[in-house]
Symmetry: C2
Subunit: 163 residues, 2 copies
DNA sequence: CACTTGGGTTCCAAAATAGAACTCACATGG
DNA sequence: CCATGTGAGTTCTATTTTGGAACCCAAGTG
């Protein structure tokens, strides 16, 4: 396997596949291994908003049935959705968000606030988040619970972890 | 185009393509139109952490050069990265995160905290976020700035916007 | 020169997605 | 009984998108 004559091989690294991401140390990478595609997060959002049946999700998102079927299985296998029968004869199922999925709601809210600022549009938001008690729109901010101060790109410092 | 005999056509809806997402009213959908794939957010994270050159990103992420090239162009076109020369002869460029990208840091922190709870791993995080002043690890929480209370799936109410 | 480096592009094969049709279990209505 | 409808998928083919490797170019190095 020696290079011959003018043939010069440059060193190539072993590439990483999408299927390697779940085992990454980086939390962002692991999140992407579950939610890192066009539709998965939108499916999860719909189930959180009460749209939980196959055909309803498909009609709302206008996604192919094939991909929807695949993503629901994936979300279930990662423990974000639970498939529960809602009727017998014939048995039909709906997909309920688990606590892990519900805990993603604050992240989605922060994401929504970001997009409203940085990816503006004329169209109106199909849903909005209200405070359950006061029924007023929420104004999501990410804070550091240790200091109580808002986290911004200026307030933080990133450090590489050795080991 | 009439159905003939036993042939019964069921009604199919017009599907949505990924390229339609940028015009969606839903902020989560617009976010996915920019960041909704396996690698884009990881690329963005690297540039935020100071890894800003083509080969450096490629070596770290072990992504194909083809896809990296495409994603960098996409991030640039969406205003999240800026391509700036860092040397002449030959001119070489690096990719700097814009303010829009920097404003995604809090969202990434909330996401990281979520994954540490719900997608645990033995491997250690390659980076960690510290408070710039105190140099202690941050404890990110999403709060409603109106009430000051933490946002959880229990504290919020989702309402469909009519119009 | 011979070779390296950074930053890409090009090419082909493999995998994922779009789009439409088909299946299955049962319900309904005449 | 038979035709039709519904919800929840699966199957099929064509198109796109990736993975993986090689190639290209401009300039620097020894």
């Amino acid at each position: 396997m020696e290079p011959i004559g003018k043939f010069r091989q440059r060193c190539y690294i072993r590439l990483m596949k999408w299927t390697d991401l779940p085992n990454e140390g980086c939390s962002v990478a692991r999140t992407m291994s579950v939610l890192g595609d066009r539709w998965t997060l939108l499916i999860l959002r719909d189930t959180l908003f009460g749209i939980r049946r196959f055909d309803d999700i498909q009609k709302r998102l206008k996604i192919t049935r094939h991909v929807l079927s695949d993503r629901l299985k994936r979300l279930e296998s990662h423990g974000l959705l639970e498939r529960k029968p809602y009727q017998e004869r014939p048995t039909r199922y709906e997909y309920h968000p688990t606590q892990a999925a519900k805990d993603f709601v604050p992240v989605m809210q922060a994401m929504t606030a970001w997009a409203q600022t940085h990816l503006p549009t004329e169209k109106s938001e199909p849903y909005r988040f209200l405070d359950r008690a006061t029924r007023t729109p929420t104004d999501p901010k990410v804070i550091d619970a240790n200091t109580g101060a808002e986290i911004t790109s200026q307030s933080i410092w990133v450090e590489a972890n050795r080991d």
